[in-house]
């Protein structure tokens, strides 16, 4: 009871914080303070549940039916990153998008930011089909308006409309799922189901849940709304969308599958394969992007794919009654949810700082920012290591869980999907490192490639402090992973009822060795740094211009570009197109070269078909000639039609 009250109070605080900016007398700080208070409440509640492990609930009547708010370890596992990122994003956004911009969207941004957080909070504690859908819809609509914050830009408008259509398609599937689930359990309240004999119904419910939630999580064929939407939103909103809102899809799959006493065979394997494909596809596309926020968005697809692999592994384990696999799969997935939330919001905050300072999202226009934005560069470096799953940062550990799980699965004879997943996970890790070497190298190293980045400077502390906190969290989670194992066990126990707490025992030794090695590595690195500092003369004496090697007077345009960096990987990227005219004349005119990357599913496949359909639908425009009289005639015809139907129905149907 108490913990659920913490959460509800937090939601109320967020709603209050979202409406406060509309009172013109009130300073932005009050609304920020209220939001942070809400975040603190929720974090306290979530941590209490994660460490204590007892679920608390609040029963009430909703529309004359029983409804329930409940916080258990699974809800808490998602509430924690939600409120962490939301709180930090609120502080960050205070400077990133000031309240009183001449454009005037600062107020709507704050309103829907708060509503988004409150809706996600309610969604995570609701145990009632209708309440869940309600919160889901508020979340989706707030996100739509947040994505369209900069709606004067046509590209942003397009991205937000695509998002809206996609999210509502997903909601339609979820509505069907909720109805079927109510049919199965006999009520809208979500309680663990009894073993039934309606195999087909169970299959449909789970299938619809996977489709609907998969749309939100951005699994492979349903991911196409994501890159544009995340690139277009204000950066702190991108951070919360990417690091929390996508995870609501994962939460939904876990929550719904946790209600069933048994999972149909093959479900886990399918999800494992889908996750593997998403991960490879996401990272491959991330590698090719020129827009750094789009790169981060594709990297989110990759990470959601990795989380999906964990979920699939856990579901396969449940179907095969293999508790060790269940623990590793679900535990790895939840751990990666936390880790991804930490480093992806850090990356988006960093990207936001760059965008704030330079005003462009094009990597090829930037470069050499390390000397102009040294603090941002320093804070982003750990994030780049974390996203590439390198030790000693956090994502390394969660991928370790997954590797252990996949190897366990291989040794127990679920070969095909696990084999695929193993290859995909290894490949993804490698490609992510390449993609983020490009991200960091092109943005921060070298010299500026255009005038855009020449006057860049570090943001002030309001934007840097949230990033610094996230860096500490990333490193801390990486080094203190052992301490999280009991909490992860509690979460797994909720997702897969009846599983013993295996992680704390099984992985204890692993993680201790890993942490020891990491600490050793860090120590060596630090010692090497000290030694290097002492042995080399002061850097001022030896500071040639960057990219000076081999060029006497380096020209900006001669610099190595991001596209040339990823060009070697072009065979992997079916959406990459080169446009170049062949030189035939003896005295050729100037020739231009262009390359562009387009999303395989969204832009190349769906885009052209939708365009054609829209052309065909234009025919119906003649129904709207603009004459008032004609519209009234339509009303009259509809009325007469209704009358006719009333009479004919009696005659025809008897």
């Amino acid at each position: 009871m108490l913990d659920v009250a913490w959460i509800l109070v937090a939601a109320v605080c967020w709603i209050g914080a979202s409406f406060l900016p509309f009172f013109t007398r009130v300073d932005d700080r009050w609304s920020q303070g209220l939001g942070l208070l809400g975040a603190a409440f929720a974090v306290v509640g979530a941590v209490r549940v994660l460490t204590g492990g007892t679920a608390s609930q609040l029963d009430f009547l909703f529309w004359r039916g029983a409804a329930r708010f409940e916080i258990d370890a699974l809800s808490a596992a998602f509430l924690l990153p939600l409120h962490l990122v939301a709180g930090l994003g609120l502080v960050y956004g205070g400077e990133y998008w000031p309240l009183n911009l001449p454009k005037g969207s600062g107020r709507s941004l704050r309103l829907f930011y708060g509503l988004l957080v409150a809706a996600m909070t309610l969604l995570l504690v609701a145990r009632h089909g209708l309440l869940f859908l309600l919160a889901w819809e508020i979340m989706a609509l707030s996100a739509f308006i947040l994505i369209g914050t900069d709606h004067e830009n046509p590209e942003v408008r397009h991205a937000s409309w695509v998002y809206l259509v996609c999210t509502h398609t997903g909601t339609a599937m979820l509505t069907a799922m909720v109805i079927l689930l109510a049919h199965r359990s006999g009520g809208l309240l979500w309680v663990p189901l009894q073993a039934g004999n309606a195999q087909a119904l169970d299959f449909w419910i789970l299938g619809l849940a996977c489709l609907g939630f998969g749309f939100k999580a951005g699994f492979l064929p349903l991911h196409f709304w994501l890159p544009a939407a995340h690139a277009s939103a204000p950066s702190h909103v991108s951070a919360i969308l990417s690091s929390v809102m996508l995870k609501m899809g994962i939460y939904g799959i876990l929550r719904i599958s946790g209600l069933f006493p048994a999972i149909p065979w093959g479900f886990g394997s399918a999800l494992l394969a889908l996750g593997a494909l998403s991960a490879v596809y996401g990272v491959g596309n991330a590698l090719a992007q020129r827009d750094y926020k789009r790169l981060l968005a594709y990297s989110s697809i990759e990470n959601l794919g990795i989380i999906g692999m964990g979920v699939g592994l856990g579901l396969a384990g449940r179907a095969g009654h293999d508790p060790w696999l269940v623990a590793l799969g679900f535990g790895g997935a939840i751990f990666h949810v936390w880790n991804h939330a930490i480093f992806k919001s850090l990356l988006f905050f960093g990207a936001g700082s760059i965008l704030h300072a330079t005003g462009t999202r094009d990597m090829e226009a930037l470069g050499g920012l390390a000397s102009r934005m040294p603090r941002t560069a320093l804070l982003l470096f750990p994030a780049v290591l974390a996203v590439s799953a390198l030790p000693p940062f956090n994502a390394f550990l969660s991928e370790w869980f997954l590797y252990r799980g996949i190897f366990a699965s291989l040794s127990r004879g679920y070969p095909w999907s696990a084999g695929l997943a193993l290859a995909a996970l290894a490949f993804t890790g490698g490609l992510a490192a390449v993609a983020f070497a490009k991200f960091y190298g092109i943005l921060f190293l070298g010299t500026s490639r255009s005038p855009a980045g020449e006057h860049a400077h570090d943001p002030t502390g309001t934007m840097l402090v949230p990033m610094a906190i996230l860096v500490c969290l990333s490193l801390g989670t990486g080094l203190a992973g052992v301490l999280l194992l009991p909490s992860l066990d509690r979460v797994v126990a909720v997702i897969a009822p009846g599983s013993a707490s295996l992680l704390a025992r099984g992985l204890n030794a692993d993680l201790r060795i890993l942490v020891g090695a990491e600490a050793l590595l860090l120590g060596c690195g630090f010692a090497a740094y000290l030694w290097w500092r002492r042995s080399t003369p002061s850097p001022e004496a030896l500071s040639p211009p960057t990219w000076d090697c081999g060029y006497a007077l380096p020209v900006r345009r001669a610099e190595y570009t991001g596209s040339s960096f990823s060009e070697a990987w072009a065979p992997l990227l079916p959406g990459l197109k080169y446009k170049v005219r062949r030189i035939t004349a003896n005295f050729p005119k100037p020739v231009a070269f262009r390359s562009e990357i387009r999303d395989l599913v969204g832009e190349l496949f769906l885009g052209s078909r939708l365009e054609r359909m829209a052309q065909r639908l234009l025919r119906f425009r003649s129904l709207q000639p603009g004459y008032l009289s004609l519209y009234i005639l339509y009303v009259l015809l509809a009325l007469l039609g209704a009358f006719l139907w009333m009479f004919l129905r009696g005659r025809l149907l008897g």
């Binding site: 603009g626 004459y627 008032l628 009289s629 009234i632 009303v635 009259l636 009325l639």
Partner: protein, 211 residues
């Protein structure tokens, strides 16, 4: 005076409205129709209920004085031409109106109504008036005549509402009247704006606004 007589007069006023070619006359007819309808509850012997008396009074004031006042002022200020200017000719309109009235008689016969409906002609007249309102709305070009059509349409609804007049709360009736008043008021403003934008009150010009 029996209510059937008043309802018959209402039906005749429908025909007159469709056949008239002058805007002024159309307004006069609609005022007469409004007053006739306002009197029907009294003719039905419902004058003993206080709230119905109130409704009658309000209907007479709004339909007999306020709305014609607004419409005439609109004519004066906007300099609307006297001609009704229909899409469909008067003869055809008349025939359509007759057809609609005939159909309403049949329809009303087939409607599953509560037993013991007070007045025989009430339902067909309501449907016929509704239909006439639609006809005027669809077939007349000027914004002002469309307002007239809207008023007739509302009269049809009012007639239908008389079926339930004993149970109908005061609030609903006053709500309808208020709705009507606001409708006419807004239409007056719209008429003015159409005139300002296009130098004419022909609703055909509104087609330029579609995207």
């Amino acid at each position: 005076m029996s209510p059937d007589f008043l309802i018959a007069l209402t039906l005749i006023s429908n025909f007159m409205l469709v056949a008239t070619s002058r805007v002024n006359k159309a307004i006069q007819i609609v005022v007469v129709q409004g007053v006739l309808l306002g009197l029907i509850p009294l003719a039905m012997g419902l004058g003993k209920y206080f709230h119905i008396l109130l409704v009658v009074l309000a209907a007479l004031v709004v339909k007999g004085w306020l709305i014609p006042f607004l419409l005439r002022r609109a004519i004066r200020e906007v300099h609307i031409q006297r001609e009704v200017d229909p899409y469909i000719g008067y003869t055809v309109s008349l025939m359509l109106c007759a057809l609609g009235t005939g159909l309403s008689l049949i329809l009303a016969h087939m409607l599953p109504l509560k037993a013991g409906t007070p007045v025989v002609l009430l339902v067909p007249a309501a449907l016929a008036t509704l239909f006439t309102g639609f006809l005027v709305l669809v077939s007349r070009r000027k914004a002002l005549t469309q307002v007239v059509g809207y008023l007739v349409l509302e009269n049809g609804i009012y007639l239908f509402g008389l079926l339930l007049v004993e149970e109908m709360p005061l609030l609903v009736e006053t709500g309808i009247l208020l709705d009507l008043f606001v409708g006419v008021f807004v239409m007056g403003i719209v008429i003015n704006h159409i005139r300002n934008a296009f130098d004419s009150t022909d609703t055909r010009h509104l087609a330029e606004l579609k995207d």
